[in-house]
Subunit: 203 residues, 2 copies
């Protein structure tokens, strides 16, 4: 059990829950994209007025970075569950894509938060680009470990290159993220995932 350190702070108590506020801000960025999300909209969504937003998270880019970090932490946990659970490689990848589509289609056709709301900004804002890239590459790394295991277990040919294969599997998730935001149906996206799994694991 983690101790809930509550040192009884001195001043006026906060009227908001930082985690809940960050979740609401994420929703706003996710829907509009980084550039089109105004501080007015973020303020309305979080229920915090502008100065409180600045006090809690800093300026607009810092708030977006915090939202991306929070999203990536959730993605990391989801990936560990999908790839870490026992079972064949095929079962792991099936859980992997199913978990991704759950996020991408939950509450409307939004796709991946990092890609959908940060990619446009990536070409002009290196800090945002690096955070988005780090999120993508963490999935690459996790898949590489899982595919290396599969190769060592004989589920993949010994000649297979786990790193590049991982980037192909991860890349297909990127494609699902793009297409989910473009309104493709769950069935269409699931078919893409299933075919990819067949190609990687053997039909």
């Amino acid at each position: 059990m983690v101790q809930k350190t509550e040192p009884k702070k001195r001043g006026r108590p906060r009227a908001y829950d930082p985690e809940a506020a960050l979740a609401k801000a994420t929703e706003t960025f996710w829907e509009s994209g980084y550039a089109a999300a105004s501080l007015d909209a973020l303020s309305a969504a979080t229920g915090m007025n502008r100065p409180s937003l600045y006090g809690a998270f800093g300026d607009k880019q810092a708030l977006f970075q915090a939202a991306m970090q929070r999203y990536q932490a959730q993605a990391r946990a989801t990936m560990r569950t999908a790839l870490g659970a026992p079972g064949t490689l095929r079962e792991s990848l099936t859980r992997f894509y199913a978990a991704g589509l759950e996020v991408y289609l939950d509450g409307g056709p939004r796709g991946c938060f990092l890609i959908g709301s940060g990619l446009s900004q990536a070409a002009v804002d290196p800090a945002i680009r690096d955070t988005v890239a780090a999120g993508v590459h963490e999935l690459d790394a996790g898949l590489t470990r899982r595919l290396t295991m599969a190769r060592d277990a004989g589920e993949l040919p010994a000649s297979a290159d786990p790193a590049t294969l991982a980037r192909v599997v991860s890349g297909m998730l990127n494609a699902l993220a793009v297409r989910a935001r473009l309104g493709e149906s769950r069935a269409e996206l699931e078919a893409m995932a299933a075919t990819t799994i067949d190609l990687v694991c053997g039909a």
Copy 2:
């Protein structure tokens, strides 16, 4: 030879070339994304002042739509060349990805124009979403035709589903578009493409 219809219009002649101006506007949208590209920046890039921009293309969204249409026309021509030239399926797909990476990496890590600058806006602007989706799906359709040919020629198993396989091949191009904008190297992206081709055509 197409006749150059020049009916000698009445008023003051245009100081700009519409095609060149649209190309410059495309560059600006491509770099900044739709939302972050200001009319000031577009005006500076095209060399046209604001009223001329409005007179020629309409408002910001109409200009972006025109830019997307122009990009898609080029993409269509490039795809026809890549997939239509004689050769094996493997050769076609190799040309296909090479042509894509040429566009995505030319002049900096920009990725696909439609995805990189329009995807963020897709969730809130259905017109833009539809145009981006149409561009993606046109590639899907072209690849479906090519893969159907390949299956009929015996290059793919008779049980293969050309439509879904096409969406996997096309999806990998989407992944390359995302990752090119995130700064991945040409070599990394080429390896992803090569591995995908191996998976589809057989190693």
